[in-house]
Symmetry: C2
Subunit: 326 residues, 2 copies
């Protein structure tokens, strides 16, 4: 839940005069996105989302992912597109913050993803990976393997408050991941945050991908690994191999994973679990005692990480390895 | 800010099948209303607000204000109307809570009300008071004079934590209000919560009144008094007599205040300030230390109350008294 910044109606109406998206009819602060303030606008010309960027997203990074959305949309990937103001800019300033308007995408995110949803995100992610291959900009991933130890250093001294032994558990895993992280796998543009709340469906049909601030250049299969963790565990944190198979098969119909990618997938999934474990841990320890808004539980990702540590190969995700005899 | 309860997409889609408002395209939890969870729905037939009632609004009170909205709309007052399901009911159950769908009203609430906004709310309130005269249901006001002492009793022992001397200040004022509260003034249906965030405008033109859960039968001029406090103070809590005049003159063009109502207005405004002071005080003391969500400041209404204590008559609101020689 977000909406950190309120915006006055007259201030917003003035801001909109720089765009050709019609006159303001209404706007509502919406409770989606935990990093930014988001508003749903109705104008005389349609529906839009206004985002004020609060933190973590440096203004310098906005051009990368805003242009990416236009690039992907031009190649048939359904995602919002930023509105350009009369000065030709996609990013303005409102209430002292970087402000971006994108068109509103109909659809709902699946609170309880089913097999069709898992297949949908697999297919759309693969199409996105293909469509991003000729994207000319580059942004390294600040939350990939080299970014994890700094996060751990912030949280290490208090990690055992969350669970006894957690500090040693993370330290050992981090050593392993840093020592074994692959550097020869295919890279490209990844979304890097393709959780269910960033994928919209109308019924079982995917209507679009949203929320690209974490997008960057990284190992493509790492994006797949993030999704295995985000989509294929049940609420009780059991792993649903049928969902994993649906996701991976749908992905591979659009973009086949190489043998090397398949072999690395369990390791990448351990890394993906580590990344969300660490950011959640830092956020969790950063919240004052007694706060009404509870951050996401880091222990969810401890359990997912433990699962991934025990995965022997892609067969444990319900898929035959490339070159394997069926 | 609200959204206490999230709703799963499939659960919501099932719920909507009982209505004839089209198929679900999207829904967003919106950050308006502090008592309930609100969602903006887009369907194939239009836009709607879904409200899940969390507290304070007893299910027994829903029929009063839901029917009132239909009653007022039929008499030309612009306000949302509840959707009726195929069983003929306006209130269903979703996620274990009373759930109501109303049509979406375009417009924005004025964060910085100007003279046109103050006149707009005055006119619309008077029309609402007239349109409510033949409303057949009755609901007493639980937050009028007899409801204040129970609230004070909850907060009294800790009131001085907010401001030294506050307990004695409230006790003395409460004695005065209880001893002098009028019982012969015209009554009818009042909104009872007509703050700027419950009045929508497109530009300077009022587009509608929303949020009727506090509506009830009470002294009509008490509604006017609530608005004087809610609309006519500047952010620094100075009283803007020009706004008060605009509000009262616009009201009186639709419904003239009697001499008795005019004479009672300063007293009613003291009572209106007391009502919001007390509920804010109780809410403020009820919040755990360190909470991220800060409740509204009760001291704002202490200062408004002190102002109203010093008002000599309606002339202090910028209006000539009825029968006075200009």
């Amino acid at each position: 839940m977000a909406v950190y910044t309120d915006v006055a109606a007259d201030e917003l109406a003035d801001f909109l005069k720089a765009y050709e998206i019609g006159d303001l009819l209404s706007y509502k602060g919406i409770a989606e996105g935990v990093e930014n303030s988001n508003f749903l606008l109705h104008t005389t010309r349609g529906h839009f989302i206004l985002t004020l960027y609060e933190k973590r997203v440096a203004a310098d990074d906005l051009p990368y992912f805003l242009s990416l959305m236009a690039h992907l949309a031009a190649r048939g990937v359904s995602c919002p597109q930023p509105a350009t103001n009369r000065a030709g800019e996609v990013c303005g300033t409102l209430s002292g913050r970087p402000a971006v308007i994108i068109n509103f995408l109909e659809g709902v995110w699946p609170r309880r993803p089913n097999l069709a949803h898992c297949a949908g995100v697999g297919e759309a992610m693969a199409k996105m990976h293909r469509a991003g291959l000729d994207y000319p900009s580059y942004r390294s991933n600040p939350l990939s393997v080299t970014g994890w130890r700094p996060l751990f250093n912030i949280a290490a001294s208090r990690a055992d408050e969350i669970q006894p032994g957690l500090r040693d558990f993370i330290a050992a895993e981090l050593d392993y991941l840093e020592g074994n992280w692959p550097d020869q796998l295919p890279t490209g543009v990844i979304h890097a945050d393709l959780f269910p709340d960033n994928v919209f469906f109308i019924g079982d049909k995917l209507s679009g991908l949203i929320d690209f601030p974490f997008s960057c250049n990284d190992i493509l299969a790492y994006d797949v690994a993030i999704c295995l963790n985000a989509w294929c565990f049940e609420p009780d944190l059991s792993f649903n191999v049928t969902k994993a198979r649906a996701l991976l098969n749908a992905y591979q119909r659009e973009r086949a994973l190489s043998e090397a990618e398949q072999a690395a997938l369990p390791l990448l999934a351990r890394g993906a679990a580590m990344r969300f474990l660490l950011t959640r841990l830092v956020d969790f320890l950063d919240v004052p005692a007694g706060a009404l808004v509870r951050p996401k539980d880091p222990l969810e990702y401890v359990r997912k990480l433990r699962f991934q540590q025990n995965v022997a190969g892609i067969r444990d995700y319900g898929v035959e390895a490339a070159g394997a005899v069926a």
